[in-house]
């Protein structure tokens, strides 16, 4: 099992703008196989993640308009590589604020240093962001100015002791003047609603994202009022699994900064409250090259909270030329190339339900589309975890100061689709 041999970063127009080799150099021409597959797939989303070539295997991911194409020579669990590549992209995101071609090109030296630390001989070495940041400091405007004056470097001269400890995710010697710990409980509703408005499938997926700025080595434990709600949970490595098993308490020494503490699924026995309903009437007339479009969104089971940030996107059939609509609220756009209709609704006020209505122009002569498009809805509800999950308390051990603690709840639409 030899892991990643080389990595190529390729942008959407097919330029290889970065390459890195951990063993012998593999020529760029290996990417031709990838381009071939990309052409065949038409859509970027459909490029197969694993491609076999005569001498190598290519495992790729697509993130933020960049293909990360890794070259593999022998058998390896594909998920291993995929997960690692995503970790690389996450790290870039973390370092440069965005994982874009420009950001990578601008910081090519840091990218190279990072890749060097993350992989040794094709096997992951240091992937924890806290350790990497000790080894290689992320660029900031201030630092680059200072560096250019003093000639100091981005490479940390302190030794990343975290790597040697048994809590590799935390760096040593963290100091804050204000000690804060924030937890965002974010729940997403995945749902498929059928034509008649009944729920075909719905489930709640949640995550707790944390932002911990605590000095020293704090040992936290977070407990819930109703931990039984959590059906399936995955943990950040810092969480002590046994403690969860026995007491349903999340006990951990947190990494420094932002990280995802857990992701969970709410058990499927619980009925999922669907906070919005959609009334829709979409029809295409036979032989008349036009159709009607009429959609209303209303609140439902929203626990007295406001539904906001509502956006509806619809992939209209290919035959649609143009749409002539009026929205009672918000604004809509229709892209005639991608055929995507986007309606930014905003907040729903129950007194006056938002409605989007009008005429659909079809290509003349084209057969009437036989399927109505699905409506993808996004929305947000602040201060509500739709599953009813509640954080009970957060305790800190191991440090003396009193941290500021905050918990925020938010419910969002995940993959929320209404079939029409």
């Amino acid at each position: 099992m030899k892991m990643i041999h080389s990595l190529f970063l390729i942008n959407c127009s097919g330029d290889i703008f970065l390459e890195k080799h951990w063993k012998s150099v593999v020529s760029q021409s290996v990417c031709d196989y990838f381009f071939e597959a990309q052409e065949k797939a038409i859509d970027v989303e459909n490029v197969p993640p694993v491609i076999s070539t005569p001498h190598h295997y290519l495992i790729s991911i697509y993130r933020d308009k960049i293909f990360f194409v890794s070259v593999i020579q022998t058998e390896v669990p594909p998920l291993f590589v995929i997960e690692f590549l995503h970790r690389v992209a996450d790290t870039f995101q973390d370092y440069f604020g965005e994982c874009s071609e420009t950001a990578i090109k601008d910081n090519v030296v840091i990218v190279y240093e990072l890749l060097e630390e993350m992989l040794d001989n094709g096997f992951p070495l240091a992937t924890e962001s806290n350790i990497l940041k000790e080894l290689i400091k992320p660029p900031t405007i201030l630092r680059s100015v200072v560096n250019s004056i003093t000639g100091s470097s981005n490479v940390g001269d302190t030794l990343p002791t975290g790597q040697l400890s048994n809590i590799p995710w935390r760096r040593a010697g963290v100091k804050y003047t204000n000690n804060e710990a924030y937890f965002d409980v974010i729940e997403e509703i995945d749902a498929i609603i059928d034509k008649s408005g009944s729920t075909v499938f719905a489930e709640i997926q949640g995550v707790i994202d944390s932002c911990i700025k605590l000095s020293g080595m704090p040992d936290l434990s977070l407990s819930f009022m109703n931990p039984r709600l959590l059906d399936d949970v995955s943990f950040h490595p810092c969480i002590r699994f046994k403690r969860w098993e026995s007491e349903r308490v999340l006990s951990f020494i947190p990494p420094d900064g932002n990280f995802r503490l857990i992701s969970y699924r709410v058990s499927s026995q619980n009925l999922v409250a669907i906070p919005v309903y959609v009334k829709h009437l979409i029809s295409f007339k036979e032989n008349s090259s036009s159709g009607r479009f009429d959609v209303t969104i209303g609140p439902k089971q929203n626990m007295g909270k406001t539904v906001e940030g509502v956006v509806m996107t619809v992939h209209m059939p290919k035959a649609v030329l143009n749409m002539n609509l009026t929205a009672t609220q918000g604004s809509y756009t229709f892209d005639p190339v991608t055929k995507v209709l986007a309606w930014d609704v905003g907040k729903i006020t129950p007194q006056k339900l938002p409605n989007l209505k009008g005429i659909v122009n079809l290509q003349s002569g084209a057969p009437k589309p036989e399927e109505n498009p699905s409506l993808n809805i996004q929305f947000k509800i602040q201060q509500l975890a739709i599953s009813g999950l509640k954080v009970n308390r957060l305790d800190m051990y191991g440090e003396k100061y009193k941290p500021f603690k905050g918990v925020k709840y938010i419910t969002k639409a995940g993959k929320f689709q209404v079939r029409t």
Binding site: E19, V50, P77, P78, F80, I82, V109, Y112, G151, E370
Partner: protein, 1100 residues
Amino acid sequence: MSGNGIGYGEQGGEVAPELAQEAAPTTAPSVPAAFGLFSSDTKKNEDLKQMLESSKDSAKLDAMKRIVGMIAKGKNASELFPAVVKNVASKNIEIKKLVYVYLMRYAEEQQDLALLSISTFQRALKDPNQLIRASALRVLSSIRVPIIVPIMMLAIKEASSDLSPYVRKNAAHAIQKLYSLDPEQKEMLIEVIEKLLRDRSTLVAGSVVMAFEEVCPDRIDLIHKNYRKLCNLLVDVEEWGQVVIIHMLTRYARTQFVSPWKTDEDVGDEYNENNFYESDEEQKEKDRKVKKTYTMDPDHRLLLRNTKPLLQSRNAAVVMAVAQLYWHLAPKSEAGIISKSLVRLLRSNREVQYIVLQNIATMSIQRKGMFEPYLKSFYVRSTDPTMIKTLKLEIMTNLANEANISTLLREFQTYVKSQDKQFAAATIQAIGRCATNISEVTDTCLNGLVCLLSNRDEIVVAESVVVIKKLLQTQPAHHGEIIKHMAKLLDNITVPVARASILWLIGEYCERVPKIAPDVLRKTAKSFTNEDDLVKLQILNLGAKLYLTNSKQTKLLTQYVLNLGKYDQSYDIRDRTRFIRQLIVPNEKSGALSKYAKKIFLAQKPAPLLESPFKDRDHFQLGTLSHTLNSRATGYLELSDWPEVAPDPAVRNVEVAESAKEWTAILSKTKKEKPTEKFYSESEEEEEDSASTSATESESGSESEKERKEESSSNESSESSSSTGVSSDSESEESTEKKTSGAAEESDSEDIKKKAKEISKSRSTFSSSDTESSSSEESSSNSKSESDSNNDSDTEKSRNATSSKKGEKTVQGRKAPNKQDVFLLDLDDFYPVTTPVAVPAAAILSPSLTADLEGLSLSGSPVIDVTTQVFVPTKMHEMLHRMTGKGLSAHYQFSRQPCIFGDRMVSVQVTLTNTSDQKIENIHIGEKKLPPGMRMHEFNPIECLEPERSVTVSMGIDFCDSTQTASFQLCTKDDHFNVNIQPPVGELLLPVTMSEKDFKKEQGMLTGMNETSATIDVAPQNSTSRVITERLMKAANLGVVPSGQDKIHRFAAKTVHSGSLMLVTVELKESSTAQLIINTEKTVIGSVLLRELKPVLSQG
């Protein structure tokens, strides 16, 4: 396997072709500006060279950054090699790092010049800083220059016994690099791997297993002794290492354990042969018995249990690895737990979804039940990429059954209308498969498909035709109407496959549509020349079939078609035409075959099986690249079938475990009055049963077992091993907390319980105030430890009493003479503190596992030869009384662990308690008055100690193997107190394991001057081996040497500072006396020890 990229490698080694390649890039779009840059490049490089030679670091750094930029873009920067390599010894870390980057990229091409840099790395390999050592090794081993192979080999060897686990980790990485550079080194590298596999650091584990998989995956024998350790370490290994270890253990387990699936299926087969002469009745009984008595090997269970928590990992690769492990190793009833986690991964990004869905597809064919509850999770969204949609569809089809088919078909109806036509076509195939698999819905599906024939989209219609054709073939009886309908479609459909399908159908069932068939032939004959090859062949077929059944009407038409075919451009069609003509048109040349023409053409044809494309993937291990590609990838390691008979499980016992058996044997003699049955719960007896059945059923495995049985009078040996397993299981659950909870687990007698509580209490306070160390674990274990002790105390009291004995003796046990096990002892503060009398950890742990569990922490210093300490005296020595200390009291005790601060130091734990009502600030060590040579490692200053709190800190003192007092000042913010630590001679030792033979050999060399002896009185109650061991261990930190003679007890240790051997022998004589002999080079210590040990056994 090796790293030479034959296909695309630019391994020219010369500069010229490299440049040429640069000028003419291999991929046109990638380096569009290359031509323009070529001329300017050389000039640019000139100024880069100048910058590199400048004296200013900033210029050098700038140049290096630009060079790295060039490398990143794939431009050639090799000609700068000489200028760059000079900077390898730069003081500036960033320059240095960038030079490393450059070196790794170009060293292979500039081998001679690269050699210039080697000495720098060689020097860095000796650096006191572990991170520098590690990075030097990393770069050195990444320079692919064959000439330095010997240097690399040497460096790896040295690094593999480095004190720092981080360096050892890098050594493991370097093994693979060296192996790919020079496979000749394999044998030597295997030795290093073998050594590193014994390492107990979680940092090393993943990397060394990686190296193992790379270099010698077939040397499964290297794993045996490390199997349990790896299982136990697994949770704490970093995520990437977990994946590698899990995959390796999966392969391992398939060679070492018997199938757990047999109980689910029929076990009978093999027994039928064995019991040839037995009557059916008996056989059945046997079968039933076997079914009942299949018990999983405890090691097998250990693996399953320890991997299960990893299903909760955030890393998809780890979850998948565990899932495949359960799929390939767990009893079928248990594999179900993985489905939930796999379904969870479907929320992840599309690449992960793709791989996971593929694996679920394979699983869902074999075991529908696993994923049935999650059916709805596979429902397709219009926004999914097509490849995800089709995979989901595949899984839904696999999961379809009578109960859910109606829901599924309704769902499919939505899909058929999808704008994504490729997906719609796949849905139609799925409907077809459901129709053949579930006979209840065949007609419904068929009708539905026929409706689709009038669909506007041609792809949909064509796919429907193909599927209908297949369906009709399975039940052609009453479908004349459909065939007619399809015949009509022929006018409109253009998709070749569909046309061909219709033609085939009409030909096959031409007798059912006698009027239409000839007409179809007429029409197609007209369009023959414009048809696709596929359709042409079917026209010929149709003609032939009609000629045979209805020659009156179609004779001419057929001949016309055959004539067209004769001059077709495709030789395939010409061949077919010739063949058909010879067969059906009778002439003088046609042989006997034409008589059978009708039989040949109109034979009953078997209906096609509509199968999942994932059907044949199950022979690949799940989660592998080969499985994803459905073809063997290079380097794929086959998963072997379960062995019929499990290989000897004893190979996994670590040496100490072996001596366990002997000790139990001895114990059982001494404690005969106690019936053994009572000590063990039923389940264990069952296991014993199974152990014996397996022993009888397996020829090979039984021998060793028998031998063991003969050794011990009772069944003790097998029993002890099975109880080992059970107890180990229960322990392994705690493995994450083992570092801490150990102390609290002791639960036997009242006072010990109290002590334990005291300790854990004092520790919890410690943890709350400690700022530096990983105190966290502590708090979690406190509450747990309470419950643990409760559980144990009553029911298993008696058992603990005995097994504790076993434990204590076995841990220190004997070792095979030549094998030096590296025990990397855990030196964490939370090391399980054990007390005499009851030996807690060992009592619950199996002997072999204790050793495994002990070194689980990350930090560690290799102390070769030294075993674990067995007793840790709880005796606290007073250092500072609270009266003199103005409220601060201090006690010290010897933890008997190898010291973390230096391997010549004795580790001392100091407990500081604040008995005043004020807080005491800044407790630290002040002036030290140490005798010459003595060194002391102080504890970190304690900022503040609240009233009524106490803190335990550890320090290390090198006493230079003398009992001289270490005096120093203990200071607080306001005061300082003079305190002393005086070590009892017994604490200046570290236990050593050796065999009896070795002991005698060593003893033989330490006679005369080096031997001191005395005759002592032994109180009668002290004459049992247990008491003797116990008492001696309490007095001195000794290791037990297993003894073959009842009357002679031997103990071995070495002095902490100089490492000289210290051999103690107690030989019981008549009339309550014994001879106490001590052999050592350190005669002074020897005689002091003798004096100390003398009274130990005579006291009542």
